[in-house]
């Protein structure tokens, strides 16, 4: 009954992360093949997510698999009141692997427990989104040549930002130094600061996002400061433009610096940054394809 699923980045060891990144590198060199010929991937998006869904489905298609599924819970039997377990049991009798996005936290863990085929978590509410973290790691390793000993600046919404929390967890294996740059209202939650102390990860914190603060950065990971996160809208108006990266701020940054963003970007990165060679967010999204090809093959126990 127990199959190999991918639910949470925290389940992956350092060795496992590195070996998955190596596989993804091979797919970057050769993204198209027929190694999943005859396989069926169930793509269950109970919650819409165009970017992640297209990336996973492209990964499956480029490796020769066929894709079944739905892109919105309204078009699935969940809208008729079917339990998640029943949907998973039904789909697992058709598909060899399930890729699932769900609005409820823990849905992926539960699906992996009841499903006879592997489940890949494509996001469960505010909880985990391991393929995003893997593509972040891939982008960091590819642009820096290593994951070890980097200065990583996390900017924007560090309170609710799922991607920054997962990245922080995953980087514990690689001796990073973190710099948390966020408004008071959206600062890094205490549990992650405790996590850093327990894992001997040095970090600094500031509310000021300036040229000086980012001059030592190897990676700047930008996130969106969302209006709906603020209880006090005055406060939002005050800070909304303070965490905006512009091209002029990059003049004195390190040569190897790269700017990441999980996308969609709104106005936290000015459009004049796009032309700067340090901007990496579009390539980062593209790397998601290779990483997802690697993840699908891994849970299916296909060696590359």
């Amino acid at each position: 009954m127990k199959s190999k699923s991918l639910v949470s980045i925290n389940d992956l060891s350092r060795e496992k992360i590195l070996s998955l990144l190596e596989t993804a590198e091979k797919f970057e060199k050769n993204p198209n093949s027929k190694i999943l010929d005859g396989r069926v991937v169930g793509s269950l998006f109970f919650e819409p997510s165009t970017r992640t869904r297209l990336s996973f489905e492209t990964a499956a298609n480029r490796l020769g698999a066929r894709v079944i599924g739905f892109s919105d819970a309204a078009t699935s039997s969940a809208s008729k009141g079917e339990t998640l377990k029943d949907t998973i049991m039904m789909v697992s009798s058709y598909a060899d692997v399930i890729v699932m996005r769900h609005r409820l936290e823990g849905a992926a863990r539960y699906a992996s427990e009841v499903s006879p085929v592997p489940v890949i978590n494509a996001g469960d509410g505010a909880n985990q989104h391991p393929s995003q973290t893997m593509l972040d790691l891939y982008s960091i390793k590819k642009t820096q040549g290593t994951l070890e000993g980097l200065n990583i600046h996390l900017v924007g919404d560090l309170k609710y930002g799922r991607t920054v929390h997962s990245l922080l967890h995953a980087m514990r294996h690689f001796k990073p130094t973190f710099h948390f740059i966020a408004p008071e209202e959206l600062h890094m939650p205490e549990e992650y600061r405790v996590f850093c102390r327990e894992n001997n990860i040095p970090f600094t914190e500031t509310t000021e996002f300036s040229e000086d603060v980012i001059s030592s950065a190897d990676i700047i990971y930008m996130t969106r400061v969302q209006r709906e996160r603020f209880s006090d809208l005055m406060e939002y108006e005050k800070v909304k433009n303070c965490y905006r990266l512009t091209n002029s701020m990059l003049a004195n940054t390190k040569e190897n610096l790269r700017i990441l963003h999980p996308l969609p970007r709104v106005n936290e990165i000015a459009h004049d940054v796009d032309e700067n060679p340090k901007a990496y967010y579009f390539q980062q999204a593209q790397n998601g394809l290779y990483v997802r090809e690697a993840l699908i093959c891994d849970v299916l126990d296909i060696n590359i």
Partner: protein, 154 residues
């Protein structure tokens, strides 16, 4: 010896059943409720605010002819850690054990996160103790942590 006599006078002997001792006094009625004692028909003695060298004021529950399950013990451990459970058969204490919080809690408590799958699907909850000293429990599903003083029993 004198103390033992006093104790014996307060709590008369039990032929068969269970004595739950060393319940912190302020947790006594929570334990009474979770064991559903008000609906029991057997002979029950409840002691409240009894002097205890170990914990100051304690509570005690003595139930004739009832033996509790592992699940009951897990529930008690969430509400009142470190109580002592004595099993009595034929006037003899045949088992005496301290009720410790188990490492894993299967379907004992509810997850406080309304967006957790366990609150939306007919399924069992599962927590593990992530920090015993601080009393922190972590949901296996949504991975949210909660302090043991803020949980609700199922």
């Amino acid at each position: 010896m004198k103390e033992n006599n006093k104790y014996a006078m307060q709590v008369s002997a039990l032929c068969n059943g269970t004595v739950i001792d060393h319940i912190p006094a302020d947790k006594l009625f929570a334990v009474v409720n979770l064991l559903d004692i008000p609906s029991m028909t057997s002979n029950v003695t409840i002691g409240y605010n009894l002097d205890s060298k170990k914990i100051g004021k304690k509570g005690l529950i003595k139930v004739a002819d009832v033996f509790f399950t592992e699940e009951d013990l897990s529930k008690i451990s969430v509400v009142a850690p470190n109580v002592v459970m004595n099993t009595i058969r034929d006037y003899q204490v045949v088992e005496k054990r301290e009720v410790k919080l188990p490492n894993e809690l299967h379907n004992i408590i509810k997850c406080n996160n309304l967006n957790c799958i366990t609150n939306n699907e007919p399924m069992a909850t599962h927590f593990h103790v992530s920090n015993r000293e601080a009393g922190t429990l972590k949901c296996r599903y949504c991975e949210k942590e909660v302090n043991i003083n803020n949980v609700e029993l199922l």
